[in-house]
Symmetry: C2
């Protein structure tokens, strides 16, 4: 697939592809070999038409009358998502969230290895957290570049998030997962996703606040 084709794919489609893959891996563990778009939709919280349309953006992977081959489609989605390899990730900020991420083995299971961790707090530097040594923030540029790290996770307080993002990009990182509750700017060609727990809770709060009369739906 060419870059220009890839660019046309929407964020929501990519997100669903990940969900499909997660579901397919579960089916694989259960030993299922075929799955229909209807079953995928039920397991992934969407519609059969949506599943088929999403997949059709990349090719024809199913068999009419039968469904999709679980193994085959898993591999295809892994290819599409760029998961046919492992990714080297740098973590910046070893506070509560950063430490939790270092200990969260689902990341490695899904292809993302945190190979370096940084913190500006001297008391944390040198300690090992879940097997990864915490390094001083000053070494970030050198190590990220030297170790060919392509993804970064920002788990610092908001005021330093932008500076960290700048350093990561300068050192060659082209994808950033940001846990600081602030939007960070990056140059074109670099992707950022921000995860803000409180922001998600606020979304729930909105739904509930609009529901004061006990309405259903």
């Amino acid at each position: 697939m060419s870059d220009s084709e890839r660019r046309r794919i929407s964020d929501s489609t990519v997100r669903r592809l990940s969900i499909y893959l997660r579901f397919l891996r579960e089916l694989r563990r259960q030993g299922k070999s075929l799955v229909s778009s209807r079953e995928m939709a039920e397991g992934c919280g969407t519609t059969p038409a949506q599943v088929r349309k999403d997949l059709s953006l990349f090719g024809s992977f199913g068999k009419r009358g039968q469904g999709y081959g679980v193994d085959e489609l898993s591999l295809t989605l892994e290819d599409i998502l760029g998961l046919d390899r492992r990714w080297r990730v740098a973590l910046v900020g070893v506070g509560k969230i950063g430490a939790a991420l270092l200990g969260y083995h689902d990341l490695a299971r899904r292809g993302f290895d945190i190979v370096a961790a940084f913190d500006s707090d001297d008391r944390k530097v040198g300690r090992k957290v879940s097997g990864v040594e915490v390094r001083p923030a000053e070494e970030l540029p050198r190590i990220v570049a030297a170790e060919d790290i392509e993804l970064g996770i920002i788990a610092t307080p908001p005021p330093t998030a932008q500076a960290v993002a700048d350093e990561l990009v300068e050192a060659g990182v082209r994808g950033i997962l940001n846990f600081a509750p602030v939007e960070v700017d990056v140059p074109a060609g670099v992707s950022v996703r921000t995860m803000d727990v409180a922001l998600e809770l606020e979304g729930l709060s909105f739904s509930l606040a609009g529901d004061r009369s006990g309405a259903r739906g």
Copy 2:
């Protein structure tokens, strides 16, 4: 605002409202009193027209030729988002992520109090984590109902997530933040948001994989 008006608001708008509010609070700390849609757009990663359209869905809060009053708009957005009160939250699963959330004070700062934590592991039950006592999973239904808890956070392994969601809903919870990497089903009238760190990294992986020729954009 009536429920039916509220229902028309899209998820993406609600998400942006939260981002606007986050930004406005920062401006308030800086002592700024007026802000234009252009400045908000720059600080929130969107466009001025989008900012104005989002706000216009709820009313006219600005002053032509000047912009929006920072204090006034903050309060308005808090009202809209249902943040004119505090929310009582139950946390289920005190593993790495759960413990990190208990120690993450940004939640309390933004109106969400984790007032109960549950775990099925006897070794964790009874311990206090960041000031909250861990209770046995069996007590969840009773305590959530008795304490008028309206929001739940699931931080258990995937296989138990659905059962926990069912218990939370049964006990009266109408909003769930799910950290288990699996989609959970809930009845109409209950909202769920799933946060999956690996899934977000996969999104970044997709962008980078489609970018092998060093294209810009």
